[in-house]
């Protein structure tokens, strides 16, 4: 057991799985000698050699397209896209090819691939370095979308992703890359993709969140006198609606919290599913605390954009007062 931050937990998961599985290769911009701009792949090229950990030309579509070929050829590539804002050029390869290959060839070709992507705001980064595009990919059939909120979860979920037979977008919330440490077992463990975690139990209201927002939700819950249950979705697709429905059926009230813009954010899907599965148990309309339908502002105003504990607290109070 070691006390690790999220960066170290991911690094450890990569090392352990690469030692087990010679078909795993890492590629991306600056991931080799430099160890990635966030140092997530630090030391891996030295450890596994340039054949398994290599720098590519600066072209995101190329990185994903090449990875698709590697995966079709039987390897498990782990491309890194340096920031979520640079996913745009790779969108076509991800959504038109990786996501569809199994279906359009009826299983003759598959794309086992784990795309690692630092995501979200809160680190005073330049523009196009702070967005939350997870819903776009959750909306694309054929992909799996994962976003851990802690070092322990990051390791367990990444190991699962590296063993997945289908493409996974593994979003790493950069705001909590080094925000805190926790005990992360050296020993092998996996966390299933598609299962949520109940962070804390409660009876009055359910909060559903994921990624760095989970930390903001915890702060709001610690300040509240009411009994609040927090569900960390952990994976955005497939998502654990059973866990959400069970909790909301018990509490009758729900607040969904995420960094991404409100409209068509994944909170919209959660709210709709709650209508389908918990309508008769609801005591109040579902509340959403999310980023706004604006361009993510430059960093001077980013904290006004991102959901924080006071905004979550207001939503909790409004929902409970209904």
């Amino acid at each position: 057991m070691a006390n690790l931050n999220l960066v170290q937990a991911i690094n450890l998961a990569l090392i352990q799985e690469m030692e087990k599985n010679p078909d795993i290769v890492l590629l991306g911009e600056d991931i080799g000698v430099n160890g990635g701009v966030f140092r997530v792949t630090e030391g891996l090229q030295k450890r596994f050699g340039e054949k398994r950990v290599f720098d590519t030309p600066l072209a995101e579509s190329g990185i994903i397209g090449l990875s698709i070929g590697l995966a079709m050829g039987g390897l498990h590539p782990v491309p890194e896209i340096q920031f979520e804002g640079f996913l745009g050029p790779a969108y076509d390869q991800i959504c038109s090819h990786a996501a569809r290959m199994r279906s359009r060839t009826r299983g003759a070709f598959t794309v086992p691939m784990t795309i690692r992507i630092p995501v979200g705001g809160g680190i005073h980064a330049p523009e196009l370095h702070s967005d939350s595009p997870e819903a776009i990919y959750a909306h694309t059939p054929g992909l799996k979308v994962v976003m851990p909120s802690s070092p322990y979860d990051a390791k367990g979920l990444l190991v699962s992703a590296l063993r997945e037979p289908d493409p996974v977008l593994f979003f790493e919330p950069k705001r909590i890359y080094r925000a805190f440490r926790e005990e992360v077992p050296e020993d092998e463990y996996t966390l299933p993709i598609g299962k949520a975690r109940t962070v804390c139990e409660g009876t009055d209201l359910t909060i559903v969140s994921w990624g760095a927002s989970v930390v903001q939700c915890m702060q709001a819950i610690e300040k509240s006198s009411r009994s609040i249950e927090l569900i960390d979705l952990r994976t955005i697709y497939p998502f654990d609606m059973d866990a959400v429905a069970q909790s909301v059926s018990k509490t009758g009230r729900c607040v969904v919290v995420h960094e991404a813009p409100l409209t068509c954010g994944f909170g919209s899907e959660i709210a709709a599913r709650i209508m389908e599965r918990c309508f008769l148990q609801l005591e109040a309309p579902v509340q959403r605390v999310a980023g706004f339908d604006t361009t993510m502002p430059y960093y001077k105003l980013e904290l006004d954009y991102l959901p924080d504990a006071p905004r979550v607290t207001r939503a909790i109070e409004d929902c409970l007062a209904y």
């Binding site: 030309p57 190329g62 397209g65 070929g69 050029p89 008769l280």
Partner: protein, 384 residues
Amino acid sequence: MPITTAYETKIEHISILDAKGNFDEKLGKGLIPDADLVKLYEAMVSCRQLDEVAFRLQRSGRMGTYPQNMGQEATSLGAAYVLRKDDWMVTCYRENCGLFWRGVPKEGILLHWMGDERGNAMPKPHWVTPIYVPLGTQMLHAAGLTLAAKYRGEDRIACTFFGDGASSEGDFHEACNFAANLHIPVVFVCQNNFWAISTPSKINSAAPTFAQRGLSYGMPCLQCDGNDIFATVYAMKKSVEHARTTGTPCFIEMVTYRLGDHTTADDAKRYRDQNEVDAWKARDPIIRLRNYMVARKLWDDAKESALLERVAQENADAVARAEGIAAPHRADFFDSMYAEIPADLAMQRDTMHTHSLGQDPSQLPPEAQERARQMTSEAAAAHH
């Protein structure tokens, strides 16, 4: 300081059997054994005839939109002939002739255009990828497939095909750059057929050749007459040898012409001159090869009519197999989305004809619950 030359090169153009029947003995002698030449000719005729069959299927409502290959048979065929059987062929959608040479079943291609994904379930041992419809994206996959082979210590290379239009796509340039810089042996084959639907090649490149696109990535580049099977074979032999011995990519522009419309949904008369089409009809790769073979007593009218008869039967059989395949189950498209279907998707599949999607029946009024139950059991009974 005086101005010096930083870089200088030339691009060779290969032509061996020209449209007038002139044959370059120096380059062409012994290049293709006579017995193989006959087989290559038969393959082109067979592909051309299937094109006509497919066209008629589309016009009679038995097949969806279909892109004819007519006129371009010698490009992919020359490549397939030279490649090793376990080299990857990563094609676009106008390379039927090469794919059939590799043993891809004709009914697979027909099924694809009949709107059935099972046509894309290319049998693995053929070392071909499924048809790619969006332009330019597959060259990166060719690079990845080859890099995966290299990773395992195999000497498999890839040959990937695209048109003059697709060479404007960003992914094409990224694929060239990745293959060159990461030392991946891919033969890039640009089929310059002069028309990307209605867009003339001059709108896709202002340079004198498409071959020189490869130059900026440090690749050896060649141009050849794409309607001359000898020239495509020669260019491929040179390129495959380069790729396999150096482990690096190279580039061929095969100059050809799309004699048909872009697809059955297109009408090329709207944008191109019939005189141009007629001029290219005179440069047809099939006619050219037949004249050569007849002149050398490798072919005659009796062989031709026997071939046409045999090919007609083979193609009719392929159509029968494509049309005879059992219809897919109505929920078939759910089952190959993931290795294991997520519970939520299974729910959508199982209720696709009975519920509003995702609606938990326990949240519905009693009569709606009853109706859903009834429809579910009827659907289950129908399925069994």
